[in-house]
Amino acid sequence: MTCLALWMPQLDQIFVTASHWLLSYLPAALQPLASAILSVAAIIVAFATLFALTTLLERKGLGRMQNRYGPNRVGPCGLFQPLADGVKSLTKEDIVPIRADRAVHFMAPVLLVAASFMGYAVLPIGRNMIMVDMNAGVLFFFAVGSLMELAVFMAGWSSRSKYSLLGAMRAIAQMISYEVPLVLASIVVLMQAGSLSTVSIVNMQASYSGIWPHWFVFTPWGFAGFVLFMIAATAESNRSPFDLPEGESEIIAGYYTEYSGFKFALFFLGEYIGMFATSGMAITLFLGGWSAPFSFLAWVPSYLWFFAKLLTIIAIFIWVRGTLPRLRMDQLMNLAWQFMLPMTLFNLIIAGVWHFMPGGLLRWLVCSTMVVVPCILFGGGLKRKKKFQIRTYHFSQ
């Protein structure tokens, strides 16, 4: 047991130590470059594997929700299914529409994947495991996130397909609309932390009172912010029920209708990588990053906690996808501007009140009320305006 306690911190830092050890063999001049390449390679390998795993989990989870088995043929429990999918998409014919803008058509998926991977530079995956501890890390994250819109537009426009164009229009309108609440929802954390650096945000949450951690999600404003952030993140990553840009029953596959083979797979990859990145940001901002949920579990290596939280959020995404039908464009916009935006703005005030009120039960009470009341108000307003209700029916004779 003591041996374990001695080794756990070592295990926690095993990747950091390994990278230092590797770098020590290189001349000092090359070390920064090699360090960057090493980190990039690690991130790409880790998250591409997670992508493969998620496609499998998603199909299996959806299958189970629908009382099916899901993929179970390739390898044990269908474990090699993503591999088979990858080989399939690589060997498939790459079709480019004859009137398409070939250069832009080619660049769109590349830009999308590149942009979606860039966000990981500022995500602290474990203790001391961050690629660049930037002063303005959160800002960087949202800045590269906005690059994805451009990639989506390029894909939609260059295909010269009407469905692609409609999909691109939907996607851009949706991403721009939800970027506002996404950023505003995260501002409450920045207010509390007083920093844009992801490392210091996580460090602030990585302490405990008793066994309970100081995660921001365990405050009224933090909880509201987390829920709002997750809704906006769902919309940003085009997940159901906000998957309008690729709503297959309406506009085939949206902006990647005209993509096939490996380019299609790249879009798929980019989308999931983007989803992991936003989920990772949500974990960093609200769920304490790599910190353990209870103080007595702090011996478990930190990166495991990060991935455990990430997988939990992914599971929720899959669960929601398996349940809900898709929203319509105007409803999506209504939700963004009539509910999300006022709620996030109001949440800023709540966070301010929390900050300046003395700690205690009263603060909890006041802030919780301040969260619940506008939520009911705005939500009720949304519902009242549309006048939808469960109806009763009568029978003839």
């Binding site: 189970r64 929700m65 009382n67 099916r68 088995y69 669960w319």
Partner: protein, 213 residues
Amino acid sequence: MVGEGILKGLAETARNFFGSYVSKDRLTTVQYPEQREPQIEATRDFPFLVYDGADWQQGMRCVACQICEKECPPKCIYIDKSKDKKPDAFGKSQFYPATFNIDISVCMSCQICVEVCPFDAIKMDVDYHLSSDNRFGGLMLNKQRLSKSNEYYNAIHPTEAAAVDAQRAEEKAKLDAKAKAAADAKAAADAKAAAESSLAQFAPNQSAAGDPQ
């Protein structure tokens, strides 16, 4: 409260998710090549020709009456009647199909041929493993491929086949009885004729009147 219905729906899918691990009868999927659904007795897909006994050519029930060819809605049966005759299961001398082809790429498994067949010669099969790499020839089944034994028929449709067999046995018994009666009558007539042969020269018309034919 907004979201109540959504949460209810989420609870429902979660129930199904965990339920699929707990109760196996939720999962209706059959893992096909390893696992098969039990054969439902009434199932039908494509027709086949029934033969009695061991030799398919000898025991073929079909007498090439061509009723099924006429009644088949998509006209997928092609029959050529034989020039000569052979004895059927009842011992009667009948025509037989020189060719009997069914194009099962056209057949729509309606089993009207089965219903109209007066000889119980054509029945519905249950074999659904029909893939062939030959698009035209592969699905054009000839007489030999169509012929299946009565035992096979009994195995795939036991109730129906038992009824058919009983009916045929009855018919055969009737025919046998008739034949026996005829034979008896003939024997009696022969005996009588033999007995009366001495008198035949005196009454030549009587034996002809006693013949049952």
